[in-house]
């Protein structure tokens, strides 16, 4: 009787308590003795106490199998397939709306689903929130929805993203800072150049932050293009920035960025040429993948 309700309890004492309770009910032909009554009362109290201590706060989610993931339907928002697709949508958002003073990061995926499509790809539908990293934890969260299509072609091709974010135009545009930054560096004698931002110890000067964010936004073009369901990219360092001669009133910057892919744990190096102005935003003009040497430090025999 009581045992059925409290079947989650694993303590030996409570099991033997249950067993005793059962035994005492079965032996009801005997006169109900006082030890029996004491036993039953104690048993109930004991079980009650145990339940109060042990009841968990939440049900843990059931493990998903690979088969679950591949099939059509709802995805667990905290699991990686939804998160990877959301990151791709984030890269797209940053290419459109990122600036030296605004980089968006994923806050949370609320809902996600995926389905295979006719042309042989997989389309994810996502409902998620983003925050502007540049404004720190004080910034508001923006609600977005996106369709992310990963094509399944023999050679890799970029995912396709359709994105809608609420109130994008209403969040504080960092117009003044952008103008000031632009005016400071557009004159011909500005020749900014720096390496290893942040440095090995995580240090980044305030002066360098807008350049780091620009690198991050420019890198988003590459991360967006290179992403698949089996990758998850982040930029881990701006290896270098070298200002080029301004062209068409755009700041011209040559970056070398280091990207990290989570599943393979590889560090991937890209050189790229990007332009920026407050009006036109970030555009990437050239990209070049660069091999990294540290792996092969052993001279060939």
């Amino acid at each position: 009787m009581l045992c059925a309700h409290w079947s989650r309890l694993r303590r030996v004492s409570s099991r033997s308590c249950c067993a005793t309770a059962l035994r005492s009910t079965h032996s009801s032909t005997r006169l109900s003795s006082s030890p029996e009554r004491i036993m039953k009362t104690f048993c109930s109290v004991w079980l009650l106490l145990s339940v109060v201590e042990l009841s968990p706060a939440q049900e843990p989610p059931l493990p998903e199998t690979a088969e679950d993931m591949a099939s059509t339907g709802d995805l667990e928002p905290t699991h990686y397939p939804a998160r990877r697709a959301a990151q791709v949508a984030l890269h797209y958002l940053n290419t459109r709306h990122g600036s030296p003073f605004r980089v968006f990061g994923l806050q949370q995926v609320h809902k996600a689903s995926a389905e295979d499509v006719e042309a042989g790809g997989r389309k994810y539908k996502l409902d998620f929130s983003v925050t502007d990293w540049a404004s720190g934890s004080a910034g508001p969260a923006l609600r977005c929805s996106a369709d992310v299509l990963f094509p399944r072609t023999e050679r890799h091709s970029a995912p396709d993203v359709k994105l809608r974010c609420e109130a994008l135009q209403q969040i504080n545009r960092t117009v003044q800072e952008e103008e000031a930054f632009y005016q400071k560096h557009i004159p011909p004698d500005s020749a900014v150049s720096a390496r290893d931002i942040p440095d090995s110890y995580g240090n980044m000067s305030e002066e360098m932050q807008p350049f780091w964010r620009l690198a991050r936004v420019a890198a988003s073009f590459i991360m967006l293009r290179e992403s698949s369901e089996n990758t998850e990219f982040n930029m881990v360092q701006m290896a270098s920035v070298t200002q080029q001669e301004s062209s068409e009133e755009q700041l011209m910057l040559e970056f070398v960025v280091l990207l990290h892919d989570l599943p393979s744990q590889e560090i991937v190096q890209w050189k790229l040429l990007a332009s920026w102005s407050p009006d036109r935003g970030v555009r990437v003009l050239q990209t070049e993948w660069q091999p990294r040497c540290p792996h092969a430090t052993k001279p060939p025999n």
Binding site: Y80, P198, D199, V236, Q237, P263, I267
Partner: protein
């Protein structure tokens, strides 16, 4: 802190707290360095139950060794005044390795271009020109089955064979020797803000998966309470990526019931190169998470006084029942 600074600090901890801290060398790295842990707890003539923590299996995850140092500092600074920590010291021994992959860690400090090194520093075998094996793919736990690369230049190269790396072998031998005492295995990494439970293989579940998830979720809650950062909890195939040969899986497979991987800050903004002003807060929140797990494990194995009294009462009543039944 550099490896030298950490080693010096470990010596200092031992010198300054001789009644609760002792160091043990339990292996050598490829480059012949002594892999050292700090054993922390009250001395005892009988074998004690134990909790293991290792940091720095992956060289570039600098926040992890920082956390091990913070953890040691916290427990040494509170065991006299905090009764909970005092009880932990009485009933448990902590075995803490601040930097497991010493070769890799030192290499990552060498210059800017080496900062993002991950693996060990053993040279490639055969005609491989690249260095290093991913220590967290090298353990004898579904070795080579999933989430690895056989390309020795890859950052997830699992080694020519399982346990080819002396660092992995050292941990394996130690855990094997302390199998019966070890209650809890914690391994600290970055980044991702995750608490991972076994197993890395998508088709296997730990027998106590439900309990591990409960404990993990409670730890994540404790972490969020400190600075508001959210940590996700789950198996790697669910929330990160499938993998095999991990130390966490090995620990669970040999029977250590509570085995967790912590992936500390952040979620990809700065990644491995965390800003200095985030080191302390990250360590503070991770400390609460780790303690949440350790306290659970302790309380489960060392029943509190109230429960002991109830158990005694229960035994007495059973005896009464049996004796009175016999009379009938």
């Amino acid at each position: 802190h550099t490896m030298d600074e950490i080693s010096a600090w470990m010596n200092q901890m031992e010198r300054e707290n001789p009644d609760v801290v002792s160091s043990m060398i339990y292996g050598k790295t490829y480059e012949d360095r002594n892999i050292t842990l700090l054993k922390i707890g009250f001395e005892s003539t009988t074998p004690k139950k134990a909790v293991w923590m290792d940091c720095g299996i992956h060289a570039r995850e600098w926040i992890a060794p920082a956390f091990c140092q913070h953890f040691v500092k916290e427990i040494l600074g509170s065991y006299k005044s905090d009764s909970k920590v005092n009880t932990l010291f009485k009933n448990l021994d902590f075995y803490i390795t601040p930097v497991l992959n010493m070769d890799g860690y030192i290499y990552s400090w060498k210059e800017y271009t080496t900062r993002l090194w991950r693996k060990s520093r053993s040279p490639g075998t055969g005609d491989c020109t690249c260095f290093g094996t991913d220590l967290n793919r090298n353990f004898y736990a579904n070795w080579g089955m999933v989430g690895i690369s056989r390309d020795c230049c890859s950052d997830i190269y699992n080694g020519p064979t399982a346990l080819s790396e002396p660092e992995a072998k050292a941990v394996t031998d130690f855990l094997g020797a302390y199998q019966n005492e070890m209650l809890c295995y914690l391994t600290i990494h970055s980044y991702g803000q995750l608490i991972l439970v076994p197993y890395g293989h998508p088709n296997i579940s730990a027998p106590n998966y439900d309990e591990l998830m409960e404990v993990g979720l409670a730890a994540a809650k404790a972490i969020t309470a400190v600075h508001g950062k959210s940590y996700k909890v789950g198996t790697p195939p669910d929330i990160l990526y499938a993998n095999s040969g991990s130390s966490r899986d090995f620990a669970r497979l040999i029977g250590i019931p509570y085995s967790f991987t912590f992936e500390l800050r952040d979620e990809g903004n700065y990644g491995f190169i965390l800003p200095e002003d985030q080191i302390q807060p990250t360590c503070e929140e991770a400390y609460q998470g780790a303690m949440s797990i350790i306290n659970y494990v302790h309380d489960k194995n060392f029943k509190s006084a109230a429960i002991t009294v109830t158990a005694t009462l229960w035994t007495t009543l059973t005896a009464l029942y049996i004796s009175s039944a016999n009379v009938f």
